[in-house]
Symmetry: C2
DNA sequence: CATTGAATTTAGGAGCGTCTAACTTTTTTA
DNA sequence: TAAAAAAGTTAGACGCTCCTAAATTCAATG
């Protein structure tokens, strides 16, 4: 009746993804950051990466080695990190996804945990959902009046809850 | 300059949460499901829970023991699972969060991975963001014309991309 | 009430992603 | 160019959550 057989735990979905060879959330984080850091000079280094992500260099080394195995980047011991075409493409997509979510959250007024919410949500959104969100952003951009109406609606709401 | 020091990996945020004693995503999944299953009879059992979440009974046992330690539920070996007031309150909140996200995703047309996206996003949304999303849902409910406008906007979009 | 079968628990192992500590390599500096 | 400092690697440990296999307890049946 309730078709509840389909439910999985959070971990369960993560394991499913693994099976189909997808990037883990952490791999996505590293790749996205490498893409950012790479924009300036065409490469980045372990330390810069580790600092940007708030992890220890040893963690960065390990992950970079994994990403190199997956052909997302070129890396030799003690050397420089460069993206392959595959990694570059992936990084671009990850960054675009990130930015779409930032725009969306800003738009709806969810700004105080903006970075954290984005970082956490981005790994958990299907392509389809991302497309819908992107359209919503564009829609409101093209109809600023309605966006304003929403924002006023929010203001009224929060004043009411102060009573 | 770029204030990138604040970035963390997905794992990094998870570890931060642990430190402040929050529930892990998996704990939330179990609690939410126990809440659902409990609605009917006031209790549930290991097996029912495991089946509903697509995990092995041994995994469910372990987690239930952890949740019992955290005072979210009452459980004795080989017995029945019942929520404490704390667990009940938490479960209610988790389910409400789940439902809010479902409504939102439906509204924007992200329906083909509805369950999975919801399950994955729900653990990663701050209270503030959830509030904003909830308001957006209510806003569109009160202004069905604008919702329809958005949906038509989407239709136009997808037709364009078919060309 | 003894047996059988279902439900549950325990024990132990695996992968992920983090850490610390110790070691190695590279770079800088004097 | 030799010593010191910085950068990077390796090894080993930990917690989370899952699994399988084996042991245990409970419930049902004859």
């Amino acid at each position: 009746m309730h078709k509840e057989e389909q439910f999985r735990t959070y971990r369960g979905y993560a394991l499913l993804e693994q099976e189909i060879g997808a990037l883990t959330p952490s791999m996505e984080d590293y790749l996205e950051m490498i893409y950012r850091l790479t924009e300036k000079n065409g490469y980045t280094r372990i330390q810069e990466l580790a600092a940007a992500l708030n992890v220890q260099p040893s963690s960065a080394t390990k992950m970079v080695q994994r990403l190199a195995e997956g052909n997302y980047l070129i890396y030799e011991k003690y050397g420089v990190i460069k993206l392959t075409p595959l990694g570059d493409q992936m990084g671009k997509r990850l960054l675009a996804r990130h930015n779409t979510l930032v725009e969306f959250l800003k738009m709806i007024g969810a700004t105080s945990h903006l970075l954290e919410d984005t970082e956490r949500i981005e790994h958990n959104v299907s392509q389809e959902t991302l497309t819908c969100i992107s359209r919503l952003v564009h829609f409101f951009r093209e109809h600023p009046t309605w966006l304003k109406a929403y924002q006023e609606y929010c203001t009224r709401f929060s004043q009411r809850s102060k009573l």
